[in-house]
């Protein structure tokens, strides 16, 4: 009796799941149909049809020059994440080891970095470094540092005091405590930080490349904007959405989940 009830419940849930999947796919089809219909009315420089965009996407994936721009964007994002993660973590670690500087970093440097606008950094770095990859990387890093600082500070504030005490009773070498206890307990925060930074980085990267880059998808979008090649803009946007979403969903999220399972308590 009980078994059948459970089985029934399960089957109805899976039917619900199926219906939801169906609804999601139907929504996609409806969306594409609406897009196609709108594209029939509007001129193609305003709204290219899905077929045009699909063709452009295909030629994008098969063209080395276009893929090179994608690679350049990836390089900018990766370099900026690495740089700003190191700087942000160092800034977060300073008040932990030198409590005297806590006010300076948490109430002065942090809020300043946090409220300076991304566009400000971008245009400023163009004035300083000209149009180059350095400009792009500097602008993204400047935007990302506060995210790293805030998250890593939260991680350090959440350290288990008892475990630290235990560690100090075993050794007096600060370095050993840092490498063997503090860093492993920070793993969940490190991954959460990297995931947030990855999401924000992509939002800012294209802006920086559009105004101050000579390579990358943002630069490419800017060129196609001037040529009224809207299909390329759409293709680049779709490519970015697909890349960012799959990276986050299939790589970063599982990684973060497994790390949290191992180290969180």
């Amino acid at each position: 009796m009980v078994d059948t009830a459970i089985a029934l419940a399960q089957s109805s849930r899976s039917r619900g799941l199926f219906a939801r999947r169906l609804a999601a796919h139907l929504f996609m089809l409806l969306f594409l149909a609406a897009w196609q219909a709108a594209a029939l009315v509007a001129p193609s420089y305003l709204l290219p049809s899905p077929v045009q965009v699909a063709w452009r996407l295909w030629s994008f994936v098969t063209s080395w020059r276009d893929l090179g721009h994608l690679g350049a964007s990836l390089y900018h994002v990766a370099a900026a994440i690495a740089i700003s993660f190191v700087i942000g973590s160092l800034l977060a670690l300073i008040p932990y080891y030198v409590p005297l500087l806590r006010f300076a970093i948490e109430r002065r440097i942090g809020p300043f970095l946090n409220s300076f606008s991304a566009i400000g950094w971008t245009l400023l770095s163009i004035m300083w470094f000209g149009v180059s990859p350095l400009t792009v990387i500097f602008a993204i890093s400047a935007v990302l540092v506060p995210f790293a600082l805030v998250n890593m500070s939260a991680g350090l504030a959440n350290l288990d005091a008892e475990i630290l005490e235990m560690a100090e009773s075993f050794t007096r070498q600060l370095w050993r405590v840092f490498a063997l206890v503090i860093v492993p307990s920070l793993y969940p925060f490190i991954f959460a930080t990297l995931r947030i930074m990855f999401g924000v980085a992509w939002k800012v990267t294209l802006t920086a490349e559009l105004f101050g880059g000579n390579s990358g998808l943002g630069y490419m979008i800017n060129l196609s904007r001037q040529e009224f090649d809207t299909a390329t803009i759409f293709a680049a946007i779709i490519l970015i959405i697909a890349f960012v979403h799959s990276m986050d969903h299939y790589i970063l999220a599982p990684l973060q989940a497994s790390v949290s399972r191992h180290y969180a308590y």
Binding site: F27, I126, M127, I240
Partner: protein
Amino acid sequence: MLTERTSVTSVVADRVIGEGLVVLALLAWWMLARGLPEFILPGPVGVVRRLIELFMMPEFLWHAFTSAWRVLVSIAAALLIGGGLAFLSRSVPWLEAVVDERIKPVLNSFPSIGWAILAAIWFEPGDFGVIFVEVAILIPFCLINIAEGLRNIDRELMEMGQSFTRRRLRILWRLTLPLLVPYGLSATRIAYGIAWKIALVAELLGAPSGLGYLMLRAQTAADSTTFLATCFAIVLMFVAGERLVIVPLERRFAHR
């Protein structure tokens, strides 16, 4: 007694070091700016003077006001639309996958400049285009936070509510919305930060007014002093809005 005194002195020392660092940074800026031409790095004195001048200029105040009301309208609209989507996915079961697996990921990974360019192609330069872009950028942040709030609503409280009344509107008004307030506030806070820092990009491409437009104009004219002053004006307005509106709101609703 002793610990209290040391803690007071250490607080004072913290503050002194903190403010000292600011002074040091200003000094370093001044030293650096002395050796560089003005269009690369203007000195702090010039920038502060320009900042004061800007705040006395009606034209600048009008641009700042334009940006501010666009930001506020966008946040309100994004909260409404994002909250509406979150409610839809929660209350209409077959829409859950549509919102969670289609709309949310796409909006969440849509590059902000993408919206700005599309708006520049689609709309006339003006308020509507800018607000469209800002709303599009802010929706995912509101959606994620309010959906999280809906997920964390206490089932037992809802059950209790249903045992008192059957009117859904009453439950929504008396239970669901008050329980959502903290999440709505954190959504507002995040949206506010993103709006000033990232969404201003909307004003670079499709607006004849606003602080973003002023910044771009100053930058293309290589007028670094005005440019930096505008940046600092944004910092000031951002901090003022946070201290005067968002922090009091949070304090007001935190106790409930």
